[in-house]
Amino acid sequence: MAEDNILEVRNLQKHFNLSNNRVLKAVDGLNFAIKRGETFGLVGESGCGKSTTGRTIIRLYEASGGQILFNGEDVQKMSGEKRKKFNRDMQMVFQDPYASLNPRMTVGKIIGEGMEIHGLYSGKEKKERISQLLRDVGLNEEHASRFPHEFSGGQRQRIGIARALAIEPQFIIADEPISALDVSVQAQVVNLFKKLQKDRGLTYLFIAHDLAMVKHISDRIGVMYLGKLVEVATSDKLNAKPLHPYTQTLLSAIPVPDPDVQKQRKRIIPQGEIPSPLNPPSGCPFRTRCPHAMDQCAATMPPFKEVEPGHYAACHLL
């Protein structure tokens, strides 16, 4: 494992067993690594397995196969003290700021709970830490005695971020942290994420479906489709020269807020819909919607290979 990788995911699988012996392969063979201090964006449409990936990495789900290495250690083999340390080092910010905060706890209690569990701070020191955290995320210390329902969506998301930061993690998984927010508030929260990263040297796994926002915050981006990674590249490269037809489609489908550009550009309107992950197509998962699909695509899954240095894609055309 490379020295500067904080997280390495090797052939990660998460299969859900459903009734009638059906198996839903939500995540099916992912390989990627995240460097210390960077932001790795994971994008894809609903049902592609991006949230399941995040939840499996932090062990909200147990993986069905593959390895997750955090700071060089196998996460799934951790137990006891090690597991507790891992829980401290990795935290999560959830999508829905309305559902992810306990409505019966004050903000101060929500933020302080982790500190108590991990025995970090108590008494006056804890109170001071909570005030400090609230200020860091752009709220103020009087907010500690209030309840979640007294806050707007953007403010709640700030509380969720403060909770994640409370136990001083190294790594934060943010699962669609801005998609429930208004555009102008989205920008506020993204700026906060960037500022906190700069101040605290955090590493982010940023999961979202909005490629424009992900591109803005991420250093590198992975694109998922039906449980598989189809492309990984730096965000600039992915935008300038997307290699996989799915990435090209995804980029082209984003409406540009500029009428002139809109009129001129040629768009790839994707055909059809995402197939059911219960019954995925043979070979390449994207072949049923791909404008370049060939016979070979139905036969075999294209290998995930390094096309250019640091730019990976899984497509038979490459």
Binding site: V183, A187, I254, V261
Partner: protein
């Protein structure tokens, strides 16, 4: 463009609540011509959905009240704000159609797709059941669903989100409405499906020349579909104009803020995104003066005291901001807006 299909004049809608009166819409006026697509943009709580739902009289009263002096003139002859429920039932689904945001919850789960589409046709048109079903099948084909005859017998839960939104569009078009209100029609959909649905709506609009009110917070969707735009903030129209006016020559700081908070695919990654600081005002007690003043970086003394009227910029383009007053200081439009900003 012919005569207006809809004229809304000084529309004011309030909700009487236990804690007081929420002034959700505070004097909205606009006209919509035949065959035109008007986008209403703004953040949650700005009153855009209440405006749209009031045009269809979908909000129960109480708690909502259309205030004295409001006027909604539809098709030059129907004064919507004064109509009774039974009069509205002849218009709703017949001359006006609506596409809701959430296709998961706005279709009836216990009725087949065919039954839901033909329900409106049977109510409003003198057609037999089999004729209505035939029309339903044609509509499903029009909205791009294959095997339309089979789909008629399916239930909503058997369809994907994109397919349900197509059913909803078919449903809203069933009686060839003159006006279609689309309330966040693509917000719940994935981006590739969104592209398909926008394409479909545009195609249908061109074919049928229906007038559309498009409510959205996504400026990208606006740029793809709309002819005219009104920007709403805290229950008021703060700027109105053509698509080009709003995107290339916006005159209200709130419009600037909205345009600048959208990340562009080619924007500088290291730069901070421009956000609008603060949150919208409480509509239980709207502020005196301009409602945006508290968040506006250009706010002057007058802004906090007197609410600005609309200043005329050019034909059809106006903005409710004191900066457009002849005696106001010159303020340059911030960078990142205007023609060519998106390379």
């Amino acid at each position: 463009m012919g005569k207006p299909i809809l004229e809304v004049n000084n529309l004011r809608v309030s909700f009487k609540m236990y804690a007081g009166e929420v002034q959700a819409v505070r004097g909205v006026s606009f006209t919509l011509d035949k065959g035109e697509v008007l986008a209403i943009v703004g953040e949650s709580g700005c009153g855009k959905s209440v405006t749209a739902q009031t045009i269809m009289r979908l909000i129960p009263s109480p708690p909502s009240y259309i205030k004295e002096g409001s006027s909604i003139l539809f098709d030059g002859k129907h004064e919507i704000s004064k109509m009774s429920e039974s009069q509205m039932q002849n218009i709703r689904g017949n001359e006006m159609g609506m596409i809701f945001q959430d296709p998961m919850t706005s279709l009836n789960p216990t009725m087949t797709v065919g039954a839901q589409i033909s329900e409106g046709i049977l109510k409003h048109q003198k057609k037999s059941k089999s004729e209505a079903m035939k029309r339903a099948s044609e509509l499903l084909t029009l909205v791009g669903m294959s095997n339309a005859d089979e789909r008629l017998h399916q239930y909503p839960h058997e369809l994907s989100g994109g397919m349900r939104q197509r059913v909803m569009i078919a449903l809203s078009l069933a009686c060839n409405p003159k006006l279609l209100i689309a309330d966040e029609p693509t917000t719940a959909l994935d981006v590739t499906i969104q592209a398909q649905i926008i394409d479909l709506l545009r195609d249908i609009q061109e074919k049928t020349e229906t007038s559309i009110i498009l409510i959205t917070h996504d400026l990208g969707v606006v740029a793809e579909m709309a002819h005219k735009v009104i920007v709403m903030y805290a229950g008021k129209v703060v700027e109105r104009g053509t698509l080009e006016d709003i995107f290339y020559n916006p005159r209200h700081p709130y419009t600037w803020g909205l345009l600048r908070s959208v990340p562009r695919l080619d924007s500088d990654k290291n730069a901070e995104l421009d956000s609008i600081p603060g949150t919208p005002p409480d509509l239980y007690a709207p502020p005196v003066g301009c409602a945006f003043a508290a968040r506006c970086p250009y706010a002057m003394k007058v802004c906090k005291e007197i609410d600005p009227e609309h200043f005329h910029v050019n034909d059809g383009h106006s903005a409710a901001c004191w900066l457009n007053h002849p005696e106001a200081p010159e303020v340059e439009m911030p960078v990142g807006i205007g023609r060519g900003a998106h390379g």
